[in-house]
């Protein structure tokens, strides 16, 4: 991380927090602050990614604006977080995608859908594209052939995973723990990541748009993340069915892949739409405005992926299947490509930050008694 204005401001705020410490019961950030007196840019990046944005500290802060010190930890750390996404992106030229992330996501989505429609139409004869297909083995592959799906899917997803890994390595070199990683620490970090412990705000949840607490954000994020993982599981099971068991799609409504995908799609829709709705009414003060575009774009992309998947299931025996399939695949392609260049990276960096916190869990706070 560079010494930017956001980093300098974060350092100023963390030094005030370290002399105050009233918020230490809210989340992992403040106990992590208390371990040090000096905050390198990497440390601040670590703290920024450790912050889950629950806003508890903003509403509890005796120095929040309009106090002259203007302490606004959720916004300040979000601004550093945004810069950290740029700093750790791989390859670096693509880091530009974070600058106007909402626009980038929208354009990639549009191009992906167009590409999928072109492929589908190029392969089908004009009359066939809108024809109802019997739901027999390999029916989907008459729209987009399996080899094309696998080539593009595995290619983009594989590249994205590699890019995320490189990003994680960049984060760790700059903002990771100095001590070695232990199995126990991995376990603790994984648990904290999956349960979103740090959206607990000390027990009663987050502050959505006022000083009142609620667990809405945590529950909606659980629905979204859980739904996403179920959809991913559906795809994986489908891949195993096809490649190892020789059972070709489409599968029955009560089959494992379809059930996983359906439940996942519904949860993903609930989570993303709910989180989007929360953004419409949230208090703008503890939020970093420049992250809003990318955040909203990713929520819409995830929601659209889920909804088009459910729609495809509904219409798969009709003439709309071809176009529904192409559009759904377009969204998935965009999602795969955007993994390392969108809000999705927060999952990687936040998990890494939780890992550092778990590694440092036995360190003693400085000062105090």
């Amino acid at each position: 991380m560079q010494e930017t204005e956001a980093v300098l401001n974060a350092r100023r705020e963390m030094e005030i927090c370290n002399a105050c410490r009233y918020c230490e019961g809210f989340c992992a950030v403040f106990p992590a602050v208390e371990l040090r007196r000096d905050f390198s840019a990497g440390d601040l990046s670590y703290l920024a990614n450790l912050c889950h944005g629950c806003r508890g500290c903003y509403y509890a802060c005796q120095y929040a604006p309009p106090h002259e010190w203007g302490i606004n930890v959720p916004r300040t750390l979000a601004e550093v977080r945004a810069e950290s996404y740029v700093a750790y992106a791989w390859p670096q030229p693509l880091a530009k995608a974070f600058e106007r992330n909402g626009v980038v996501v929208a354009v990639v989505v549009a191009l992906s859908i167009a590409l999928m429609l072109l492929i589908a139409m190029a392969i089908s004869s004009p009359g066939q594209f809108f024809a109802a297909r019997p739901m027999v083995a390999d029916a989907f592959y008459t729209v987009v052939p399996l080899w094309a799906m696998q080539l593009v899917g595995i290619g983009t997803f594989g590249f994205s995973l590699f890019a995320l890994w490189k990003g994680a390595c960049n984060f760790w070199a700059d903002a990771g723990a100095k001590q070695s990683i232990t199995i126990a620490a991995i376990g603790i970090a994984a648990w904290d990541a999956v349960t979103l412990k740090n959206l607990g705000g000390g027990g009663d949840g987050c502050n959505d748009n006022s000083e009142a607490f609620s667990k809405r954000r945590r529950h909606l994020h659980h629905a979204m993340a859980g739904g996403f993982m179920l959809c991913f599981a559906a795809t994986t099971v489908g891949f195993i069915y096809h490649s190892f068991l020789g059972w070709a799609a489409p599968y029955a409504f009560i089959s494992l892949p379809v059930l996983l995908g359906t439940v996942g799609g519904v949860l993903l829709t609930i989570g993303t739409v709910g989180l989007f709705a929360m953004k419409l009414v949230e208090d703008p003060m503890p939020v970093a405005r420049k992250l809003l575009g990318g955040d909203v774009a990713m929520l819409v992309l995830l929601a659209a992926t889920a909804v088009t998947g459910l729609f495809l299931l509904a219409v798969r025996a009709t003439g709309a299947m071809g176009i529904a399939m192409a559009i759904h695949l377009g969204f998935i392609l965009a999602l795969f490509m955007l993994l390392p260049y969108s809000k999705m990276v927060h999952g990687v960096y936040r998990s890494a930050a939780l890992l550092r916190r778990a590694i440092e869990r036995d360190m003693k706070p400085l000062g105090g008694e």
């Binding site: 030094e15 005030i16 370290n18 002399a19 105050c20 410490r21 009233y22 918020c23 230490e24 019961g25 809210f26 106990p31 208390e34 007196r37 508890g56 500290c57 509403y59 509890a60 802060c61 005796q62 120095y63 929040a64 604006p65 309009p66 106090h67 002259e68 000390g202 027990g203 009663d204 000083e211 009142a212 706070p365 400085l366 000062g367 105090g368 008694e369």
Partner: protein, 466 residues
């Protein structure tokens, strides 16, 4: 928008902990309540915004407090810090009542946390609010709104018009415009007068220019003065207050907790002439924290300098302003605009007087002392010789003043003739001097505010409803 023409059962002047405890209790007892907070919403809550904990008696460990802290020990602590300048009956009543406030506070949404760090070792005696005083206030305000208490911000009480021992009307400014409102009973919970520098100057002279007011700039003592001018009995020495040692670079108002310095017990502290003036190691810092403000206020130009070396630097809480750092004591003195020869002489004399041989332990009175100095340092005395050297300029930081309206144990305000006012009650800092004649116990202000706020709310509602 509240109807300000109606006669409320209870009007509460103030918007901090004591005011909200009174307002919520009165509302729960069935009274209609109007609460007037002079600050804008963002700065609501008076000094409570900067607090963190409440000192509570308990006979056995509970969810928030470890071990036990019984009535007699609590009373002994209070007796010691006040030097007997207290009211035993009222103090013991407050102490006993402090053990019973948790359920009510929790029902009002207040949350507690186990004490972790930076808390001056108070986990046994003090219950810590999760997120601090502003989080506590947020919970109380949410509860007050839910219960239907009318709250006006930017609304200052100018005068409680007392006639024949009762408040007949209340003059206010509502967002700058004068109005008169009426209530059957009135609770004054609007703090001390420490932010009124002109009033402070009457007692301290120009020394106030060197004071830092740690808390809200809205506690100007307007109601206190108004009541004392109308024949309400006063109690307390107007120069007595909660005063701590602060970083001299703190803002004049509202710097809160972060500007305090915990370096004193591990330092040599000198005045502007480079002379030591008090035993820095007299007792553990929590017990001496609240006397150093007054000690510095009595030094020339109300300033002092804490000097320590690299051995001592990691022992205390990080400060909000960076330490002044130098490779030698002389250089440090120059950076702090002190006479280097004098400071070097003082530190050398101190170093020579350190009695060696004891093991150093910052968690207890370790007996490491100096011999032959006036004054000696009686604990944690180690030579100041390992560079780099660190210094902080110190000023007196005033938390709140103790000059108060006199009350009885029903929180009724007493008139100069000894009779209770008919419908006037008080809670919080504005009556703290009834119990705190001098000195301070961490978290005791919140205890007084909570206990007397609850009593005042109860009594005011009862009287208004009869």
């Amino acid at each position: 928008m509240p109807d300000r023409k109606q006669t409320y059962d209870v009007l509460v002047a103030g918007g901090g902990n004591a005011a909200l405890c009174a307002a919520i209790t009165a509302r729960q007892a069935g009274a209609s309540v109007l609460l007037l907070e002079s600050a804008p919403k963002a700065f609501r809550g008076g000094n409570s915004r900067h607090t963190r904990n409440l000192r509570a008696m308990h006979d056995a460990p509970n969810a928030v407090l470890t071990d036990a802290y019984k009535e007699d020990e609590y009373w002994d602590d209070l007796l010691r810090v006040t030097g007997g300048n207290t009211n035993e009956e009222m103090a013991r009543m407050t102490i006993r009542a402090s053990s019973g406030v948790f359920d009510w506070m929790k029902a009002c949404g207040v949350r507690f946390q186990p004490s972790l760090t930076g808390t001056l070792n108070l986990g046994r005696t003090n219950a810590f609010f999760l997120g601090g005083g502003k989080a506590l206030l947020n919970a109380y305000y949410l509860t007050a709104e839910k219960l239907g208490i009318d709250i006006l911000y930017d609304t200052e009480v100018i005068s409680m018009n007392i006639d024949d021992g009762s408040v007949r009307s209340i003059d206010i400014t509502y967002r700058g415009f004068p109005e008169t409102v009426h209530a059957r009973c009135v609770v004054a919970s609007c703090g001390g007068f420490q932010a009124n520098l002109e009033w402070m100057r009457e007692f301290w002279g120009d020394a106030v220019d060197n004071f830092v007011i740690r808390g809200t700039p809205y506690n100007r003592g307007r109601v206190l003065k108004n009541l004392l001018d109308q024949g309400v009995a006063a109690i307390g020495d107007p120069t007595q207050c909660h005063a701590v040692a602060l970083d001299a670079r703190a803002p004049k108002f509202d710097g809160g907790i972060t500007t305090r310095l915990d370096s004193v017990p591990y330092s040599v502290v000198v005045n502007k002439h480079g002379d030591r003036f008090y035993d820095e190691g007299e007792d553990v810092w929590p017990k001496r924290y609240a006397i150093w403000g007054r000690l510095i206020a009595q030094q020339p130009d109300q300033i002092a300098y804490s000097i320590c070396d690299a051995k001592a630097f990691p022992l205390f809480m990080p400060s909000v302003y960076p330490a002044i750092k130098a490779d030698s004591v002389g250089e440090l003195a120059v950076k702090m605009k002190l006479d280097p020869a004098k400071v070097i002489a003082t530190v050398d004399a101190y170093n020579a007087a350190v009695v060696p041989g004891q093991s150093f332990d910052n968690l207890k009175l370790d007996g490491n002392r100096t011999e032959g100095l006036a004054p000696n340092k009686t604990n944690w005395a180690r030579t100041v010789d390992k560079g780099p050297f660190y210094g902080y300029p110190l000023r007196p930081g005033i938390t709140f003043t103790y000059l108060s309206v006199k009350v009885n144990d029903k929180a009724q305000v007493l008139m100069e003739n000894g009779q209770p006012a008919g419908n006037l009650f008080a809670s919080g800092e504005i009556m703290s001097g009834n119990i705190l004649g001098k000195g301070y116990l961490a978290g005791f202000g919140m205890t007084i505010g909570t206990v007397f706020g609850r009593i005042a709310g109860q009594e005011a509602a009862r009287r208004a409803r009869n």
